[in-house]
Assembly symmetry: C2
Homo-oligomer: 385 residues x 2
């Protein structure tokens, strides 16, 4: 297998992008990535997108985007794994380069979520849960994560303040990220007094509905220096695992086995241990998700993720910085794009380009992206040369 490098990244200011279409959004980020890599021709492309059929009435996504990007006849593929679609697009691109089939591959993600009316977005997102055993009975994602939060609070004593501390920390970080959808700070009291969504989760415990895209340019590691004079980022580990998508079929409500397995697979491939990781972007679709993921990956013992965040251990200057980008919470969560945007942040950090949110001495970063309530998880490890 050939080693793979990231030689370009692209993103844009995320938000409710009324003036831009589905294809505009993707192509903007893709062109930014091509410019960053100083290339204009691709061998192949993978696009993570969760539910463009329900959000904008458009399937056949990769063909639309290849053409609109000026790459007609490109071998272009859409991959879907709910909110882990972006992470999977990176993994597929990595595998294609590793195989020797292609050299220059764009791995991107996109979602246009604000073109639906009424409860359209809630319905589309709910299709990431089990249609027959969860959605049909009225469960939506805030409800499912609320069950996990209550179970975690009961089992480990996780507190309402600890949940809120995740939102406070991520908005602190996001306030330093010019591309974040909500680059403002929030307070503990503000989170705890925000509108109730699904007890105990309030609206400031939830990631938002977002339009956005992100893109990476990959090439064989040994060719990276042909294209870029920036620090070359090597993707050293890739782990992917599924789990039951229905909560009732899991062994536990308070841990995420798919995340655990994907993390272990990525570390094994990279030949690294958790202590080697300098920073991590995790899938904080809800505040409780960041806590459980930080435990399932092994950064904290079960039940200690909330206290660790509250104690500042996951801040940019903490023991293990989590979500220096602002996370899904502040940066936004255009579902198919999220997994790629996490890696864009890791690349910026490892290149030393993260400005006011720069993690000191960042050499090895991890990105953890997941679908639904953890029914799929993709973990990547990136290292700067």
């Amino acid at each position: 297998m050939r080693d793979v490098a990231i030689i370009g990244v692209g993103i844009q200011k995320w938000g409710e992008l009324w003036e831009k279409s589905f294809r505009d959004i993707f192509v903007e980020a893709a062109l930014n990535a091509l410019d960053d890599a100083k290339i204009d021709k691709l061998d192949s492309m993978y696009i993570g997108c969760m539910s463009s059929g329900l959000f904008v009435g458009q399937e056949h996504v990769a063909s639309v985007m290849a053409d609109y990007l000026g790459q007609r006849h490109l071998a272009a593929t859409r991959v879907e794994s709910a909110c882990a679609s972006g992470g999977l697009a990176l993994r597929c691109g990595l595998i294609e380069i590793a195989s020797g089939m292609s050299d220059l591959v764009l791995a991107g993600g996109v979602e246009k979520m604000t073109d639906v009316s009424g409860d359209g977005a809630t319905y589309a997102l709910a299709t990431a849960a089990d249609q027959e055993y969860e959605c049909y009975h009225g469960a939506t994602f805030p409800g499912l994560y609320a069950l996990m939060a209550r179970a975690h609070m009961k089992k480990y004593g996780t507190t309402r303040d600890q949940l809120a501390s995740v939102a406070v920390k991520n908005h602190d970080n996001g306030s330093l990220n010019p591309n974040a959808q909500y680059p403002f700070k929030v307070t503990l009291e503000g989170v705890k007094n925000s509108v109730m969504i699904a007890e105990p989760l309030r609206i400031l415990d939830c990631s938002p509905i977002t339009d956005g895209a992100a893109a990476l340019i990959l090439c064989p590691y040994e060719r990276a220096r042909e294209f870029t004079d920036k620090p070359v980022i090597k993707v050293t580990g890739s782990g992917h695992a599924t789990d039951s998508i229905a909560l009732h079929d899991r062994t536990s409500l308070t841990t995420l086995d798919g995340v655990k397995v994907a993390g272990q697979r990525a570390l094994k491939m990279a030949g690294r241990k958790l202590d080697d990781i300098d920073l991590v972007e995790v899938h904080d679709c809800f505040t409780i998700a960041e806590i459980i993921v930080s435990e399932s990956l092994g950064f904290f013992k079960p039940g200690q993720g909330g206290a660790a965040c509250e104690a500042g251990e996951t801040r940019i200057d903490g023991k293990i910085p989590i979500n220096p980008s602002g996370g899904l919470k502040s940066k936004g969560h255009p579902v198919g794009a999220t997994g790629i945007a996490q890696v864009v942040e890791i690349v910026h950090q490892l290149r030393g380009e993260a400005g006011k949110r720069q993690v000191k001495n960042a050499r090895i970063g991890m990105a953890q992206n997941m679908g639904g309530s953890g029914g799929s998880s993709v973990v990547h490890i990136m290292e700067v040369e």
Copy 2:
């Protein structure tokens, strides 16, 4: 890159499968394939599925299926390229094995199309066309292919009888296929007098709405003999190309450039020329599609595909047998599954297991699968050892 073999195939009787759910259908075909390969554990899985969000309200498809198949924590990925999703699933599986990342990979496809009411299926299928420039203005696929048919008739003198001869031939073949949705014969007069859908296409020019799935088990070629004592089928060529998904952006209405490019890429990889191919399954979503595809792949000169079919050159005993399975027309067209089912047929033919529809001396087969009106195309070449 490692060579890849197909060591197992699975399918079921296709049709309106009211008594089976989306997940039942996939798992039935997948278990058939695992049984055929005599294995029970996978390293990875790719599933082609076009629009399960719109058809059954379920995204996050690969996680549902991995769990229901008894393979929890499997690295499982859904790929989508409209009606070419199945072909792409095979291509992704092939690339993963070629890379050395995995050894035992299931490549499958599934669609449950009959659970929607009213014009739900027509709407879902139309999302494979250009949402902004075609669907929004009322175009549906019968209409788009009718434009192509009229252009082909005007430019080349293709006749109504020639279109009908494709349906007659494919139903003749399908009548010999126990898994076909419509295993009955039709006559020229029957096709020409059937209900008008979009002039000149009548209902017997159109492939049906179908529930169904299909699956292949792939492994490194050098390991195939560990698992099967049947003839080992090697995948020697894989070509993938996109094109504009909007008809108005094409260079021509009467040829399919994406199909042409994908075919050339597959032949180049296999080191074969068109004369080497003994039989081919093509994407006959409409009768005109088979004619244009047979020309775009190069089996006939532009404008001669209709006459060739009428003259019997594409029958099972003809010069180049096309769609011995019965094609999408008679066998059915569960969109995400079609590309995999084409390869299931090629494997049966190359193994000599095709019964009454067996093509004599079949050593090298081709499968051509496409999305929308040719906005993406995937071509594979399979050879028996």
